[in-house]
């Protein structure tokens, strides 16, 4: 038993961190405050070249042949850098394409050419071989495909399946958002949860991304508390601020440890994987939401401006909460499961 990354995993982490901090600094989101759409899609071919788009795919499918433990290291960094959540569409669609033996689609994803958005249920929907219901489409405006999933399974749709989608301004205004509807639609690919573990994998990837958000907000708050002076001292020397930052550190640590545990459990398979994946999603989105809110408070009035990055973490945390089911539904699911002692 060892929850620390092995040397190969550390290499992956270092490569992800150095590429993303150079190519996708958070400042990229600052000057054009507004709806810029899937700007990060320009990174997909480069991420593909580095092997990141096929990290968890078998080599036979053009992937790197690793798994969820490696993917969470990448996703934590993606969260820290606020990379478009459309990346999750790529990861999930690749798994769907691999399981349904669609080499053309697989190749388009793993090479970074494909654009794949996310479709999240608006209220109760039916997802299955015949799917119906109202959805939000996230980062799907320029995409040919959108991935949707519930606890029942995961599906790949053509974006045109959602009818005349209606553009809406997204609260996280760097993302495109549309309303769409499926009417008794057959997905291009459907994999039920019984045949695969896509919903669980999605939970853990979101947890890793959200942990990255929680950590970035923690670091931003602590860095500011070291330099911002009031009453002749750095505000981080006051316990009211220091303890707020300490709480952020606790939440981020809790989220990461459970996410690592869940990633290994899901990778190994077994009856307790759902429990731990749900716990990870719950704790990590909770940490992301709380840390993002605290970070705004630590920054004072500046934290309330569009010039600060603080609001970006909060809004992305809310997106992550709704992807795959919000905290309330996560909790309802978790209390319904058998104990996993």
């Amino acid at each position: 038993m060892n929850l620390l990354p092995n040397p190969e995993q550390v290499q992956i982490l270092d490569a992800a961190r150095s590429f993303l901090s150079a190519e996708a600094p958070v400042e990229r989101l600052r000057p054009q405050h507004g709806q810029i759409g899937n700007h990060d899609a320009r990174l997909w071919p480069e991420l593909a070249e580095l092997g990141f788009l096929g990290l968890g795919l078998a080599e036979a499918h053009g992937g790197v042949g690793l798994g969820l433990p490696e993917e969470i290291l990448l996703y934590r960094e993606l969260g820290r850098q606020l990379i478009s959540p459309a990346i999750l569409g790529l990861t999930l669609a690749a798994l769907l394409a691999a399981r349904s033996d669609d080499p053309a689609l697989l190749n388009a994803i793993v090479s970074g050419e494909a654009r794949i958005g996310l479709a999240t249920p608006r209220g109760a929907v039916t997802l299955g071989p015949v799917s119906s219901g109202a959805f939000h489409l996230i980062e799907a405006r320029e995409a040919a495909w959108a991935v949707a999933w519930t606890d029942d399974g995961a599906a790949l749709f053509r974006t045109e399946d959602f009818g005349a989608a209606e553009d809406i301004l997204c609260m996280d205004s760097h993302l495109t958002l549309e309303r769409g509807r499926l009417e008794a639609c057959e997905p291009a690919i459907w994999i039920s949860a019984a045949d695969g573990d896509l919903p669980r994998r999605a939970q853990v990837l979101i947890a890793a991304y959200a942990t990255g958000l929680a950590e970035a907000a923690r670091d931003m708050a602590a860095d500011y508390a070291k330099i911002r002076q009031q009453f002749g001292k750095p505000i981080g020397s006051f316990q009211a601020v220091k303890h707020r930052c300490a709480d952020m550190a606790i939440l981020a640590e809790v989220a990461w440890c459970q996410t690592v545990f869940a990633a290994v459990m899901v990778q190994n398979g077994g009856p307790k994987a759902t429990y731990h994946a749900g716990a990870a999603k719950l704790l990590a989105t909770d940490a992301a939401l709380k840390n993002a809110a605290q970070n705004i408070q630590v920054h004072g009035a500046f934290g309330f401006t569009a010039d600060s990055d603080a609001h970006l973490y909060l809004k992305r945390a809310h997106v992550m909460d709704f992807l795959g089911g919000d905290l309330r539904s996560q909790k309802a699911a978790l209390i319904g499961l058998a104990a996993a002692l």
Partner: protein, 385 residues
């Protein structure tokens, strides 16, 4: 990253499970007094005789000399078996013994460690004083060297189970002129020495629950041979095992709490019904607690992983401690909401109400939540003092 236990680990687990199955004491553990002492010492002795008392202790001191991973497995099986915590022996097992192992001389190790492990003695901790709690390093209990003895005068307070202990780890000021961290010594105090007097202090759990004491020292003569480490180096001796206390010492408790929570989940299911529970406020809180207790286990595994990798058990252990101490309170609190108005009743056999009241100590003992947050802020995040 893996959760693979080796074949030896699994064999060890099976052996532990079988032994616990046959040897865990049946019947409730007395919660105070000589009856509690007798119970805890006997259970410790049984574990020693079975070869389970010191799984990760070095063999030269009577332990098995195994890794922290095996210690973790033992604690997991211990928790699953429902075995009672020998809480009276916590200070001896998890504080005095590691300190003596790390900083004691050969004579001190040879005399004290086997007694602690075999369940022959109980220890208490003489650290806090009436005017020095969180500001521990400002302590003023004075010790003067007289020949080959320290002569101690002063008072300690909030001393858990001093009235049931044979020995005490005692911090005294041996150089009042030195900076406050540089004039302290760490001594082993025999609680039967002349000049020691106790004043019982009742705690808030129930009328007449004697747990704390104030301890008065009047010209108490402690042999210099009982000083651990150098004279005036006692602060560093105390700190050498504080990381241990904040990291792995509570491992057993952390694992046990997951079992406590599941009893609450069962109770809530029974009273509210499975369907109602999901979106009920209590069900939502229980789900949050389930996730948090899962994370405690993951954090425990992470600490074991870091320790096996040679990482120091340092300030990061404060993250775990600060989180777990508040989690214990949230877990105990929800019991009252599940039980409802009957929680005003304090029954003789009381799995929920006294433990709830008792949980108020978790954010105070071994460094308050405020001190833990200072440590996290300053040593983990690098914020200014």
């Amino acid at each position: 990253m893996n959760l693979d236990f080796t074949a030896e680990d699994e064999a060890f687990r099976a052996e532990a499970r079988a032994w616990l199955n046959d040897n865990v004491p049946r019947g409730p553990r007395p919660t105070e007094g000589q009856a509690m002492r007798a119970f805890d010492l006997a259970w410790q002795r049984a574990q020693y005789d079975g070869g389970w008392a010191g799984v990760s202790w070095p063999t030269e001191y009577g332990g098995r000399g195994l890794e922290l991973t095996q210690q973790l497995i033992w604690y997991e099986e211990y928790a699953r078996s429902g075995a009672p915590e020998a809480a009276l022996l916590f200070v001896g097992m998890n504080h005095a013994a590691p300190t003596i192992m790390a900083r004691g001389n050969e004579a001190q190790k040879a005399f004290h460690l086997p007694k602690i492990l075999k369940g022959e003695v109980a220890w208490s901790q003489g650290f806090s004083e009436p005017n020095n709690g969180s500001d521990l390093a400002g302590l003023t209990t004075k010790a003067v060297i007289d020949g080959d003895h320290l002569v101690v005068n002063g008072s300690k307070i909030w001393t858990s189970n001093a009235h049931l202990s044979d020995w005490q780890e005692l911090l005294v000021r041996t150089d009042p002129a030195a900076p406050k961290h540089k004039g302290i010594s760490w001594a082993i105090c025999d609680m039967t020495l002349p000049g020691i007097e106790l004043r019982p202090i009742m705690i808030m759990t129930a009328p007449g629950h004697h747990h704390f004491n104030q301890v008065f020292y009047t010209d108490v003569r402690i042999p210099l041979a009982n000083v651990v480490g150098e004279i005036n180096d006692g602060w560093s001796v105390a700190m050498s095992t504080l990381g241990f206390e904040r990291g792995t010492a509570s491992m057993s408790e952390q694992i046990r709490y997951g079992v406590v929570l599941e009893k609450l989940v069962d109770m809530a299911r029974e009273r509210l019904g499975e369907a109602a529970l999901k979106y009920d406020e209590i069900g939502q809180r229980l789900a949050q607690l389930r996730a948090e207790h899962a994370a405690v286990r993951a954090m425990t595994y992470m600490i074991v992983s870091r320790s096996a990798g040679g990482g120091a058990m340092g300030s990061e252990a404060s993250l775990m401690r600060a989180f777990f101490s508040q989690l214990q309170q949230r877990t105990r609190r929800i019991a009252l909401d599940i039980i409802g108005s009957d929680s005003l009743e304090l029954p003789d056999v009381d799995p929920w109400i006294r433990p709830y009241l008792r949980s108020f100590s978790t954010t105070i003992a071994a460094g308050t939540s405020e001190i833990q947050r200072n440590i996290i802020g300053e040593r983990v995040l690098g914020l200014p003092r």
